[in-house]
Symmetry: C2
Subunit: 216 residues, 2 copies
DNA sequence: TGTACATCAGTGAACGCGCGTTCACTGATGTAC
DNA sequence: TGTACATCAGTGAACGCGCGTTCACTGATGTAC
């Protein structure tokens, strides 16, 4: 019995110069929808409009396509992920502590926000228009976050706590494993997973080639 | 300019006792659709009917819901994956060779069939009806395949080629990493990945705790 | 051996739904004179 | 200081589409007598 007759009973129009405020509301609405529904497919133009409390055509004033909205949500999500990682990392001073804390923050972010996390690294876009082979893949906005991981492994090796001689390759391996950890745990919740912290610690130590007698 | 007026210009009806043959055609059609489209969302009741060359209502005689069709496709996919792994494994006799070959077959299957692979381990089902919290998660049909991995690590350790004392936990770690490898490489094709074989070898050796001086 | 009939394996038209997108519009707000 | 007007920030109705699902039907095939 949702009243859909009046799209926005409480929402007042923005004033003359403030039309662009709706743009932010649309992005936040789409993000909330993604988080709440847990599914990329739930984000439709009309659903976002309902979430924000506006009529569907109003969106066209701010975004040309649904993909633009998703892109804006993803940019924001990437930024939150990056901040979570660096914040956790910065609570430690020793290289391995920083590396492990960053990895833990990455994993925790993914487990806490499964749908946004999934969309970050899902190739598939909304419309089927750019499902074509030559479509431009998402610009590698996560590359700088990956570089943080590379640097962290390099620093751990530099401090003598890791045997890594190929931080780039080892970071790729580690990221791969962390991504698998997030997605598999999110998707197969009933699987008899080992305790998260122990599994994470083992994976990080082994793939970043950290010495056995590790320092806390 | 596809002629959709006559659903099946060439397809003759099955004869009296052979109605159940259509069931198999529907499953194969859905599988072909999934493989070709690369997307779970492309599998709709009507799309499957078009693929098979029948009218949409005909499906109801064989399946109650779309999910039943997907389940049948997945059961078949799981079986193909399992066979690919054991076939590759059985070309070797030494435990580590068997382990690595099995892992390689797993990864190759995932990379060769990204859409079916993804659906195997995606929680999300077709309809939103069972997106509810209490919905029954997919029965763990992959558990026996996971057990193959556990056993393979245990045998490698038994032969003295691995230091694993917890094959179950190490198998979880390894599977996690392999899953991440398949999905990330499928989704981020432009990322500067290291060569597949080297990355796979490193991940398997490190997470299965295989000794450095490994035997070929 | 012939024929009426039941059953099987589907079909075709129609429905209501949510979707993206278009179009003409509206009413408040600021600006020019 | 008033007033006509332009502009801004949206709205509401309508469209065509593909979807899942229903319903009554059809025509070939086998079976009973």
């Amino acid at each position: 019995m949702k009243t859909s007759r009046q799209a926005s009973p409480g929402r007042p129009k923005n004033r003359r110069g403030e039309g662009s405020r709706l743009r932010g509301e649309i992005i936040r609405g789409a993000a909330a929808l993604l988080e709440r529904s847990g599914s990329r497919e739930a984000i439709t133009l009309r659903a976002v409009a309902r979430e924000v409390g506006i009529s569907a055509p109003s969106i066209y004033a701010h975004f040309e396509t649904l993909d633009e909205i998703i892109d804006a949500v993803l940019a924001e999500t990437f930024e939150r992920l990056r901040q979570a990682i660096t914040a956790a990392s910065d609570e430690h001073t020793d290289p391995y502590g920083r590396l492990l804390a960053g990895c833990r923050a990455y994993v925790q972010f993914g487990l806490d926000h499964p749908a946004p996390y999934r969309v970050l690294f899902a190739r598939q876009r909304a419309g089927s228009h750019d499902a074509a082979e030559g479509a431009p893949e998402r610009r590698p906005v996560g590359l700088d976050t990956f570089q943080v991981l590379v640097d962290s492994i390099a620093e751990t090796a530099g401090a003598g706590a890791s045997d890594s001689t190929d931080p780039q390759g080892d970071a790729a391996n580690l990221w791969t494993a962390l991504h698998g950890l997030v997605t598999l745990r999110s998707d197969l919740r009933r699987f008899p997973w080992p305790p998260l912290d122990a599994q994470l610690d083992t994976i990080v130590r082994h793939l970043a080639r950290v010495h056995e007698p590790r320092s806390l």
